[in-house]
Symmetry: D2
């Protein structure tokens, strides 16, 4: 529903790139989740601009305030959720300083300027793309941090990493990677050599005043069997929607994905067995941990494709609101590639989806 996502754990975001601030209200937060303020702020810091040479050099602290929904648990002396909605606000710092009048009436290529202009009858905050700016995802990361704190209590873990930048691919399956190394480099790729290649390439792209795309892979471990709904709200369908709703995303696949198309059923099917601990397992996991739209207890993994950032430093042809030809000048400070900053966003949206389905699954029996 427009700016709301989720059925039971449900986030509603608001805010524009250069307005007074961003915010989110999270409804359906289970009571009793321990709040770790440092963790929440750190998630925002992983997403914030200016964090490395391969991201935009704009500086924003992205400090988050929690206005409601938590209260001290006197037994433990820590703040916990109370089951009432959590409102979080991130005030924008320098919203007055920027001058965006040069694009007020121009439609930047492959941005949302034109589509917002048509949809909203010309009423539009054009500064930095307004609501269409990826700045909106700061609110998602804040909400996702709450979801992650809940999932931690359930021993469900979510880790995303960059598996492709431009045409540089990390081709190994996630099972052969050391995911504890993701945060060791600025591109968030767990293989140091590939990471280095990616960083060099992105840096060169930036120097060329251009931008490039990439892929973020994500792995969810510890997810119990049974999450997801039979028909429309299949677990992977919601994960797909959640990822496709992130700015600049062009594709989503899970398990064997597009490559599974060329496989035979006899190769692709995941045979069940019972392991030494009596747990149901599958010998392979082309299903990506989801069968019939419902988690089967194996690892869930998926990929999300990001296009090159639309803002480039070269001049481009376009039109203005009157349909007249104009030149859009390349200027400002922008990301040459979004994937390193997209990693926490992918994780946040995945956490929101999984927690929502976890709660929904509680109502399946009396």
């Amino acid at each position: 529903m427009n700016n709301t996502y989720g059925q039971l754990f449900r986030i509603t975001t608001a805010g524009e790139s250069h307005g007074k601030g961003l915010g989110v209200i999270i409804d359906g937060v289970p009571a009793g989740i321990k709040i770790d303020y440092d963790f929440i702020q750190n998630e925002l810091t992983r997403r914030k601009p200016g964090q490395s040479k391969i991201t935009t050099q704009r500086k924003e602290a992205d400090e988050v305030q929690i206005l409601s929904g938590v209260f001290i648990d006197e037994k433990t002396g820590t703040d916990k959720t109370t089951g009432t909605p959590i409102q979080m606000v991130i005030f924008n710092q320098d919203q007055k300083s920027k001058d965006y009048s040069h694009i007020a009436e121009k439609f930047r290529p492959s941005h949302a300027d034109y589509t917002y202009h048509v949809k909203y009858d010309g009423y539009r905050d054009y500064r930095g793309g307004g609501r269409s700016s990826a700045r909106e995802t700061a609110a998602r990361v804040a909400a996702g941090a709450i979801a992650k704190l809940a999932l931690n209590q359930l021993n469900i873990d979510i880790k995303a990493y960059v598996s492709q930048a431009g045409s540089i691919k990390l081709d190994k399956p996630y099972t052969e990677l050391d995911l504890s190394k993701i945060e060791d480099n600025i591109i968030r790729c767990p293989e140091p050599e590939i990471a280095e290649e990616m960083i060099t390439m992105i840096d060169q792209t930036r120097k060329n005043r251009d931008t490039i795309g990439g892929v973020v892979s994500c792995v969810i471990t510890g997810c119990p069997a049974g999450l997801g709904e039979p028909a429309f709200d299949k677990l992977h369908a919601e994960l797909g929607k959640a990822m496709l709703s992130i700015n600049a995303v062009k594709g989503f696949e899970y398990g064997s994905g597009f490559d599974g198309v060329a496989m035979y059923g006899s190769e692709h099917n995941d045979e069940f067995y019972t392991d030494e601990n009596g747990n149901v397992r599958t010998k392979t996991n082309h299903s990506g941990g989801i069968q019939g739209g419902i988690s089967n207890g194996q690892d869930i993994y998926f990929k999300t494709a990001f296009k090159p950032v639309a803002t480039i430093m070269s001049d481009q042809e376009s039109i203005d609101i009157n349909g007249d030809k104009v030149v859009v000048a390349g200027k400002g400070r922008h990301d040459p590639c979004v994937v390193s900053r997209a990693v926490p966003i992918v994780e946040a949206m995945a956490a929101i989806v999984i927690l929502d389905f976890y709660l929904r699954n509680k109502a399946v029996t009396l």
Copy 2:
């Protein structure tokens, strides 16, 4: 919401593979849509089993009845929608005849038997996969036919076709294809030579008692600018969810998709211009007709990846509901490849998404 899809044009489906019947209630149908009963039945016929040698040989007529929501318009003598919900029912014909007791307690590999068993605490109609059967999509196709009748009145057209079967790809962009030829062959691929190759390969796969995957491409023309919502309900995010909710789907991409990842922004950006008729156009269409989640008036196009059918004719190892090792025998009549029958399903879901967003967009101004 589980078995309901859509916000304003909203379908709710019910029914199992071998129960008494399938059904759908469509709410939010605009009043005044002219009902063409032959068109609706024909859409179901495009999806039904037994239609060609490359589909399952099961025979089901899939005759649909409309129980409500339409009434004769005495001015024109034709039935039209009245704005009240349309209930459609497709009774199953031979639901008693099948014997499924051999799988009652076994989990077929890469089917939903296990996940349903866990989720629903062991209460499960195992016959033909029950609710997890792709038979559920008959109800979607019936609902999609109503959506298509509405979109026809708006001159919005949706056409899907098979662009890959196994590793045989139709590599041309849709703009170089003659989409009027899709229905000319049983695989629903508009290039006759490629179609022939695909058919031969699928037929051979069937003879090998195996199955194979494929890709369905879809093109939407005539869609006005402005459809889609800013944050979570981006047009492509809902299209993605709708496609990923179809049985056996593993991936979704739109516009440049996964290939767009390796492009530079300077190549990928779609520059705007005003054409000779004063219409806003883009020189290229890597955006796939959607910018910032909102349609821009250009053609919308996307691809959906289908895995190989899980039911194969060879024996497979698995476990039963007690966790004990069993063999699942290959038997019955099943599709060697689903993509030819998936074409009308993809179109139906796309039609439902587009009509829903069309109606939602009417509320954007007073």
Copy 3:
């Protein structure tokens, strides 16, 4: 959402008074509910027309079929719900026989003919009021029967009765009534003398070719504390919406209701105590079992006011679709008072609300 009610236990109804049939799809049915077909049919029989001299003399069997969502539980040999949606259909029997052409273009006073005509741009099934007919409530009663079967397993009981017909009131509080006697008479009032008075008055009203209103009271026992949501979805707010959504309802009050207005806080407040079994109780129950929108474990009780039936047997002035003055003739077979047939409808809607909140409440903690 229009023709859908509920968040987790969610019903969607369809059907017109004289179309092919009525139907409902119930989504979110917990798995494992034992299906008692006789009970379900009996609930419909309590609502059906022609059941006594004080209801319409139209005869409709209202036989319900279940098409999906149940399956035999082989352990017990009984049918149980499977967690997938239940579709129920009630085919109309004599939909062709009636001639409604005399009202095709007239707006009957205090009916929905005019408002539907305006809303749906003139597309309207005018036969018997079409979708606006109280016949739609048959589908609600069918769905409510499923909810009651679930609540029975939770020991939650719902009983409604007629507490007023015209100006004849049953003034005793429910705690002084023997609710096991409700079904002992045709008006469904547990006090035999008052019941007799009501029946005589309604019968006389019918002979006068007129109609009269009434009040249905409802008591819910065994409801655990904790159901209901803090802000908008207060338990009594949803009960109120559910009751007000029934045809002909004009008012709703719970606990002390409108009479509570003239009480002082010192009289109205319900003091807590712990009873001999260690249960939390209140000394009085002006709260009607709900505090802050959440059930407190005491009995829930409320009243629903029904207006006189709009169809009367006398001629009335009105206008037609052109705005011209016409006479609407009194003819046909109609209820002189709806409350006896409304009793099972009130119970059905209450059951749906309570079960929905019961399921929602399961997601409040991890």
Copy 4:
């Protein structure tokens, strides 16, 4: 959905009585609504505590900030809505100063302390009732002000007034009142003599350290025919839910309401006629402007009953979280009667409902 209300114009509130602040995100705001900041603040001022001798003497400025969703319209030099969500925040001023430790573990009679305690597993902000405080309605009034600004542009007007306080009733129908006088006195009753009586009675009740209930009546003029949905979302059902969701509300009736029960159909039916301007009118309006759940273009009117405030200045018996008997002392500054402050809340919720249905009705035809 818990803390969200509305389908297309949709508000989500957050915040506790003594937390950092209250907030609301409004989604689905039509683009192009002119923002009048003074009007919005004034609506909050009409609701705020400390406004007269018959309200609580607590002082809170209730200053509202708009963080998003509006932008300057350069053509007119005024701020207008942009169609993106509006986030509003009201920071609490003295949240640290209050000492509520005396009620931390006690359940105040007829408050929500006990039900929240049970529902949320003991995690609860007890200060001033936390989320259950009527302070939450400040966020509703802020959102309602936006709805009113939109309705103003459509010439739809909403006016509420106090029609009963304790047993003092204003018995005249609204058609005989001068509604421009509502704001002339502190009780917001348009008849000065009755107002005076009410004020004296409430003031005396306050001196008696007690509280009393009341009724707020509301009239909506200028509402076009066609708003409301056939089955569950009848216009009066949503108005009822919206009113019943306000703190302390015990009952709702519209049109003839509970009094309509004792009327005959021949008296109650509203005959249609066409007036001299060609408009469809009804001779009487027992329907309260709504037929079959859909507005008919006549005035809409309804009543909402409020119970006496639960906080009284006398000692009361109760129990604590261990079930042990305690005394709850009467202290603090509280309203002796809420109805004067409830007037803007009733208007706000009515405005939200009407605007939502106005937008929903746009999707009824293509």
